[in-house]
């Protein structure tokens, strides 16, 4: 029990993934600044933002709408992200082996933050938040099936093992899944899914700050908004970590392997940041057809290729 609580709250759960995710968020902002020939924020900027929101700012509750649901939604989001972090990072850091079928559980836990944003935005009673919430719902509907197809492709490549630990072990014993045609295609599709899950720029129509003024989060202030920021930090760390486990051979945490592990995560975040900085925002209609038609076709092609062993 105490060990499980430690796993959940300290390592590799809430504290560890939040700190690493905050540093990755700084990396993201710094790279963005360098792309635009700016200097960028200091290293501890995400921590300043978080503690300012948590400790200093007042929390304003909406007059219309449901205050209880409005306040509970960010808590659910942090809970889902943290539980997913524990289930992903325990096999990945080789602490424990997880259980059969934990891929399915991780998949569902990773959707909880997005659903919580939708619930919170609809509970705030703000019309712009409702627009953002409906866009987020459409986005979830479009990218989740693609993400499931990616996971199905990985399962087929791993000769139908349903748990993260076996997938990592199979890659260690033979070669990483990305060193094949289907692996590369799955990686491309998964990168776009992660971009949409994180709400980064081509797919940030739910919180479009210049268009519907932060959409889903428009009414959040103070501590609940700090929790949303925390969820975003955690998701920025665990989604690249999950992709590393699925396709990029996981982590080998001894000697030079630690450096490789860090480089894999940083490389994926760098890729996400560069996509975010070189693309305009899509309309929700374009995003839905992008995932439901093109990305699904690519993923199915990858599954067929994987089935025939390419």
């Amino acid at each position: 029990m105490a060990v499980n609580l430690f796993y959940f709250l300290v390592f590799p759960g809430l504290l560890f993934s939040a700190v690493v995710g905050a540093l990755l968020s700084w990396f993201d902002r710094k790279i963005t600044a360098r792309v635009q020939f700016r200097k960028g924020p200091p290293l501890l900027q995400p921590f300043y933002d978080f503690f300012k929101l948590l400790l200093v700012k007042e929390t304003i509750l909406p007059k219309q709408g449901s205050p209880v649901v409005f306040l509970l939604a960010p808590v659910f989001a942090v809970f889902g992200a943290t539980t997913a972090a524990v289930l992903i990072l325990l096999p990945l850091l080789n602490i424990s082996s997880g259980f059969r079928g934990d891929l399915i559980v991780i998949f569902y836990l990773l959707t909880i933050p997005s659903f919580s944003y939708v619930i919170g935005s609809l509970a705030s009673g703000n019309p712009l938040a409702a627009v953002g919430g409906s866009r987020e719902m459409k986005l979830i509907l479009s990218y989740e099936s693609t993400f499931l197809l990616v996971i199905a492709g990985v399962i087929i490549k791993a000769s139908q093992y349903f748990d993260l630990n076996s997938i990592i072990t199979i890659q260690h014993n033979s070669r990483p899944f990305i060193e094949s045609v289907s692996g590369v295609i799955l990686f491309i599709v998964a990168i776009f899914c992660i971009q949409a899950k994180l709400g980064l720029v081509p797919f940030d129509m739910a919180e479009a700050e210049t268009e519907i003024t932060e959409g889903t989060f428009i009414e959040y202030s103070g501590a609940p908004y700090a929790l949303i920021k925390l969820t975003k930090y955690i998701m920025l760390f665990i989604l690249p970590a999950f992709l590393t486990a699925l396709l990029l051979n996981g982590f080998v945490l001894k000697g030079i392997g630690i450096l490789w592990a860090a480089l894999k995560i940083l490389g994926i975040v760098l890729l996400l940041t560069l996509i975010r900085n070189t693309n305009p925002r899509l309309k929700i209609k374009q995003a839905v057809s992008f995932f439901l038609v093109w990305m699904n076709l690519l993923a199915i092609l990858a599954i067929v290729l994987a089935y025939f062993g390419y």
């Binding site: 600044a33 200093v56 700012k57 932060e214 989060f217």
Partner: protein, 166 residues
Amino acid sequence: MDEPACYSGNSSCIFWILKNRYVGFKSFCFKKSLWVFHFGGASCNNCDIEILDCLTPRYDLERFGILLVGSIRHADVLLVNGSINMRDRDRLIEIYNQAPKPILVVAIGACGCTGGIFAEGNTFAGPVDKIIPVDAYIPGCPPKPEAIIAGLVKLVNSSNPFKRDK
């Protein structure tokens, strides 16, 4: 709370120090991450453009943690520029009341600070500080980005957002 006499065994002294540290930490975090919401009154757009200039690569206010946000609920600083006329006044008061406290208000440009050439106007509803309390004034028509940055740095260094009674 005044400083209690510090001798060994006085627990209220330790409590006082811890409380001061906590308030200092909060104030430090606040000053390190000011998120700015921009309210343009009946502006001629020059101040708006100069404010946007501060966020461009040449001046880059993000290195001080300053970001432009879209919703007043996320803002720590309310930048007001342009002359405030009768219609703007209600909006400005509404925006100010919706902001989560503590919030700093900065009046930018001659119109925001004093009224400028509109001070005698028919529909002019007074400079910003007659409507809401203002923490800093940055005059100029329009103020240079350097002047805006200097004003914001002075505001960050001098003000204590927790000591204001409103």
